[in-house]
Symmetry: C2
Subunit: 385 residues, 2 copies
């Protein structure tokens, strides 16, 4: 029996060719392409197809895939009515888990996965991938209307993925810069090796559950504050700090109490997360484009990052993806509690790439445990206890 390592730290759980991290150098690649190059040159639609299929698509394949995504944005009215029965006070991640799970009832067919050996039915796998990726953005945007008491607006098929999301969220065609920034954010969040939510994808996939069960499970895992929920926590923390001059005392006090500094540190990186670097530049670009010399939350964040670098860099703790994404979304006018839901919309791509990879060489996950409980004992009737 292998050694027990909490959190399976350092234990390989799969063979994968989807993405790779060089934690010393701070490099993340999708299918071999450095994230910076994709952020600078690609679109979310193209990156999605790259992650799913393994190669940059031809112009023809990309158009075909994009057309499929555009024509799959509408959800059935039953899903909309179901969402109207959810409480407006609930968290968007719980809403998203609920809605994605419900979609599985409308699109059955995972029996294909057991009928044809290991790989499953290719049409089913492709069709469900398109349906889920296209509809997740719709659902998150619809929720913004529904929870405010309004009927959601219909998606438009003449807009890109990012443009349509912002259109459905705000009810007006987005500024091109905002749409471009969101597109880059979606690329940055699309995939990140075997983190907790992607690992839960592998575990759920391995029982040959449907992709809706798989993605709904991963949404639940991502929702936790130690995972995707952290970007919301960063904004709450920066708001609590309030101004740059209060940052040092706040951070030192939290460190003394051994509390988490949200958005700092990552098990895989021993330097600054490459996604944090790009996000920080995007915040700067947006602030500058708007002619504002200063965004107060961004100013607090930069000071917090400097203080943390001074205190924590020696431990290999640096800003991670969550540190600047929340500030960026706030500056874009997106409600705080929707941040993690947007993360999930982007990450659905990576999750489904891992689902497809798991199906190709599947073995059900059943690790062991170190049993530390009672040895066998005899039942005692209740009147003798």
């Amino acid at each position: 029996m292998s050694e027990y390592l909490p959190g399976l730290a350092g234990v390989p759980a799969t063979k994968s060719n989807i993405s790779n991290i060089d934690g010393e150098k701070g490099i993340l690649t999708y299918r071999g392409y450095p994230l910076e190059q994709l952020a600078a040159n690609s679109s979310f639609e193209e990156t999605t197809l790259l992650l799913l299929d393994g190669e940059l698509p031809s112009a023809h394949s990309l158009t075909e895939f994009d057309t499929q995504l555009r024509s799959n944005r509408v959800v059935k009215y039953h899903v909309r009515e179901l969402m109207k029965n959810l409480p407006a006070t609930g968290h968007p991640m719980d809403m998203l888990q609920t809605a994605v799970a419900s979609l599985g009832m409308f699109y059955p067919g995972n029996e294909y996965l057991t009928s044809g050996g290991s790989g499953g039915d290719l049409d089913y796998v492709h069709n469900m991938t398109v349906k889920i990726i296209a509809r997740m953005a719709t659902i998150v945007a619809m929720w913004q209307y529904i929870r405010n008491g309004y009927d959601p607006i219909a998606p438009r098929s003449d807009l890109t993925y990012a443009e349509n999301f912002l259109y459905m969220l705000n009810g007006q065609e987005p500024d091109k810069l905002l749409a471009k920034i969101l597109d880059v954010c979606l690329i940055l969040h699309a995939e990140h090796t075997i983190n907790a939510s992607t690992f839960s994808v592998l575990v759920t996939s391995s029982t040959l559950a449907s992709p809706y069960n798989v993605v709904a499970g991963a949404i639940g895992t991502l929702s936790g504050p130690l995972h995707g929920g952290a970007n919301q926590k960063v904004v709450e923390m920066l708001t609590e700090i309030g101004s740059a001059d209060k940052a040092e005392e706040y951070i030192d006090s939290r460190l003394k109490q051994k509390k988490v500094i949200w958005g700092m540190g990552h098990r895989e990186y021993k330097t600054k997360d490459p996604r944090a670097k790009i996000l920080q530049r995007l915040v700067q670009d947006l602030v500058s484009a708007r002619g504002n010399s200063v965004n107060p939350m961004f100013e607090v964040a930069k000071v917090v990052e400097d203080i943390c670098e001074d205190r924590l860099a020696k431990k290999g703790v640096y800003a991670n993806v969550d540190f600047y994404s929340g500030i960026l979304y706030t500056e874009m006018g997106i409600p705080t509690d929707q941040f993690t839901a947007i993360f999930a919309v982007a990450r659905a791509t990576g999750w489904l790439a891992h689902w497809r990879e798991q199906l190709k060489d599947n073995r059900i996950f059943r690790p062991t445990q170190v049993y530390i409980g009672h040895s066998a004992r005899t039942y005692i009737p209740i009147d003798q206890r």
Copy 2:
């Protein structure tokens, strides 16, 4: 870096004191108590408290817990209306994942999990445990009415957990023998170390996601045909075989094609699953009590088991828990596609015991991967591909 073992077979993923399997001897214990003793002497309510708290409860504690369960059976009308928007043709496991995820929006509070160090808020943990265990049975039973186009009937607080489930499922007070058999089935399915769905509980819990996210994720994992979905597959297989004289040809043909024999084999047991033994006796009891000398599906099953024992025992493959549970549920008049949902109702107990255990000594799951993909390469513009 550790060796890569597909499915993490033999890799310890947690320290646990909840249940233990002796696979050579075919012994399963819950908190040290052999399953046979609990099946013979305990109730589902008592076994639940044993699994959650670690000890057999006093009469006072059991009454208090049972009272809490009884008073938590009703779900809000919003959840009922939400369920009415789900398609009647969908699978009950997808319905259950949807409904449990939706409950999380009505009962927020997982911020307690991050506020008080490792253990979380005890009241929150206990209250949510009771809410989920009590409501899951209600939801599964309600669905039987809703999908047939009827308003569900209200739960009754004067009935036991098993009695109330059958009452809500069928609209009449159950035969005492049926309720007793279901009670034993719930005990048998309540917990089983770190199988795939329980493992997904640990992974989701480790991000400090809410227990609704955790259980909804586990429902998705359990739904797969290689896991909880297998009991439904057994009944479909036995129905396809049709009669005992056709069993040999059918089994040999499937073995030759290297196809799964549903309900046979388990990674942990090298002998007959102790749960299968008890379930087989329960089928026999029920058939006898009804004065039927023969149940046709049971007769086919016994022949299939004999043939499989002849062909597969040398490989350590024997009947597992799924082999007889479906036959029993069929004899009890429960619709085939509800079997796995009843499994989930029982297993919620084990899942929540593992959720609580994970919170006490939490580390986020982040295993590694063996990267087998492209080394770094340079982005090629679309017009040059």
